[in-house]
């Protein structure tokens, strides 16, 4: 049985008459010890999906799903107290901007120890010992003094390490990392990614890595989900997805990577923009922008289907080695 199983997740905002589906029928699964990447541009719904999972979506947002199972618990049916026993302990999440995600009025040590106190009931010397261990695990130098510093006194990279320490403090089974390195310098990015990878292996955690940077997942993930406008449009194993992408959107993402455009005078880019609240296509959501579009794409929504990988397209690319239409 999977650690996490999501079927037909839908997250709506706005009025009931004209709702905006930030997540529109999403299916997703991950096992213990797996590292899966979720890739997509801004507005694809990748963050909203995870927030819905953690129970962080408030009214007027509405979360519905056919199935939302974690570790044998039905997340849809939990009451507040039961959910809080799992969130922060067995599922943990780290966010993009570590500095604003930490409380500026409390020391770093206080915030790490908080989870330990609340979920594991640690006190006194054991509490401080564990906090120090965690800081050392995330490779923060001079850990003993760092316990008493404030977030604004440390760099972005340090703060992100603190966030990671907070998240893994109760040995979670699943860690969700929402663009953890986007706000950091390139060299720090690499360090944080290495740290996450190492922690994931050492603790056999499931790790969901949300990012818009394909290079990041190429190195670490076993499987990648590509999201567009609130839906999963492709899911494949690494490195197959990079060599033979099936969905035109995935292809476009790969084409846009600067290294793939050597010698070209212009970077290749998809024309148009992601559909928003007022301009959602009737058919396939990519149809207004897709180079390979056909009549059927404009009128019907394609389902997510396939065997060794899944793709949401009537005319997937690279099957039997050639695109459907040049």
């Amino acid at each position: 049985m999977s650690l996490l199983s999501i079927k037909n997740l839908r997250v709506e905002f706005g009025s009931k008459a004209h709702p905006f589906a930030a997540v529109d029928g999403l299916d997703f699964q991950i096992d213990r010890g797996e590292l899966v990447g979720i890739v997509g541009e801004s507005g694809s719904g990748k963050s909203v999906t995870m927030m819905a999972l953690m129970g962080l979506i408030d009214a007027p947002g509405r979360v519905t799903a056919d199935e939302l199972m974690f570790d044998g618990h039905d997340l849809l049916k939990l009451n507040d107290k039961q959910r809080r026993a799992i969130v922060g302990k067995d599922i943990a999440m780290i966010f993009q901007d570590a500095l604003t995600s930490l409380n500026p009025s409390y020391t770093v040590g206080y915030q790490i120890m908080e989870s330990l106190k609340v979920h594991l009931g640690l006190r006194g010397a054991a509490l401080e010992k564990r906090a120090l261990e965690l800081l050392e695990m995330v490779e923060i130098p001079d850990a003993k003094n760092r316990l008493h510093t404030y977030p604004h006194q440390m760099s972005g990279g340090m703060n992100q390490r603190v966030m990671i320490a907070m998240a893994i403090s109760c040995e979670p089974k699943l860690l969700i990392a929402d663009e953890p390195t986007t706000a950091l310098d390139v060299t720090i990015q690499a360090q944080i990614m290495d740290l996450l990878g190492r922690l994931q292996r050492e603790h056999n955690m499931g790790l969901i890595m949300i990012t818009h940077d394909l290079a990041v997942v190429a190195e670490m993930a076993r499987r990648v989900c590509v999201m567009y406008a609130g839906q999963v449009v492709e899911e494949q194993a690494v490195p197959a997805i990079f060599n033979t992408p099936h969905h035109p959107y995935t292809q476009a993402l790969l084409d846009a990577i600067p290294e793939h455009n050597k010698g070209a005078s212009r970077l290749s880019a998809l024309p148009g923009i992601v559909p928003g609240h007022y301009d959602r296509p009737v058919g396939c959501l990519l149809s207004p922008r897709c180079r390979f579009v056909q009549d059927r794409c404009r009128t019907e929504r394609p389902p997510l289907a396939g065997t060794d990988g899944r793709v949401r397209c009537f005319f997937p690319l690279n099957e039997e080695g050639k695109p459907a239409h040049v």
Binding site: G276, Y278, D279, P281, V282, G283, P288, R298, T299, E300, R301
Partner: protein
């Protein structure tokens, strides 16, 4: 799977226009709408006082001094809200009072906002040369609450309607300067200003055409609140005998003479103050509604 073949071809997005969006937000706030209507009534009273008021506001009906409102014992139909201690019709005085209050409020807001905004822009665009000097002066002016500053000015200039306008204007000027300077300095750092500058826009154009429109939201809200506090200050000055002088019908001035009649003729005290309360409340509600509707929208308009 849908079969709406009509919707295929050109799926033009139907974004509502900025004005429509503003009105949608504003009118969703029922309180703000009611407030707008009340303000409308006040405005009509101010503009058409001569036609609406049943009597002359300064005419003294010596036979009917201290008549109660028409719904009480001893009240008379002609003097709907009763008469004051000199026999003047209260309703007419209130209606003409609207003209005075709105006029003073409007003029003082204009007289403080325009120089205040200009000074704020100058302080933002020339921080070394002008900025420090201007803000120091503003700091001094801000060390006194605006009412006390207005009282000072009136002490120097003497009481009266025009002096009240000037006094209130000087009292509120520093807040516009501060606000504009802060907003402008925030905008100057942004890239669209640099882009305009690189494209060759002169300082004057940068100040008024590029940056100022994007500072308008907090300014408009502040102006609305300034309008309502001007009405309160006018009334306060009138009450203290330092503002508009009798027999001119100003709501606060009406209250100062009425103090002695709390027991005998409470309506003389209640009515003018109630009018001030309702007007100021309406304008503040409108200001709140404006702020809620404007803020996110105008920021996007950059």
């Amino acid at each position: 799977m849908t079969t709406q073949t009509q919707a295929i071809a050109e799926q033009t997005p139907s974004f509502p226009s900025p004005l429509k969006e503003f009105w949608q937000s504003f009118s969703a706030n029922k309180g703000a709408l009611v407030a707008l209507c009340i303000f409308g009534v006040a405005l009509i009273c101010a503009l058409f006082a001569g036609f609406i008021a049943p009597h002359d506001p300064v005419e003294q009906f010596r036979d009917h001094m201290l008549t109660p409102p028409s719904w009480q014992d001893g009240g008379m139909g002609t003097y709907f809200l009763g008469t004051d201690e000199l026999g003047r019709d209260i309703l007419s005085r209130l209606i003409f009072g609207a003209r005075i209050s709105l006029l003073i409020a409007f003029m003082s807001v204009m007289m403080s906002m325009i120089p205040g905004v200009v000074l704020g822009l100058l302080a933002a665009f020339f921080p070394e040369k002008l900025g420090t000097a201007i803000m120091r002066v503003m700091d001094v002016m801000l060390a006194l609450p605006s009412l006390l500053l207005a009282i000072c000015i009136v002490t120097i200039l003497g009481p009266g309607l025009v002096n009240t306008m000037i006094a209130i204007a000087i009292g509120t000027l520093p807040s516009y300067t501060r606000l504009t300077r802060a907003a402008a300095m925030g905008e100057i750092g942004k890239e669209y200003v640099t882009a305009s500058r690189v494209a060759g826009a002169g300082t004057l154009r940068l100040m008024f055409v590029t940056v100022l429109p994007n500072c308008m939201a907090p300014l408009i809200v502040n102006a609305t609140l300034g309008f309502s506090s001007a009405i309160l200050e006018t009334a306060a000055l009138g009450f203290l005998g330092l503002g508009v002088q009798p027999p001119t019908p100003e709501w606060g001035t009406m209250l100062s003479a009425a103090r002695d009649y709390i027991e005998r003729a409470p309506w003389v005290v209640t009515m003018p103050g109630l009018t001030v309360l309702i007007s100021v409340l309406a304008i503040n509600l409108m200001g709140d509604g404006l702020r809620d509707a404007l803020d996110p929208k105008l920021k996007r308009a950059a």
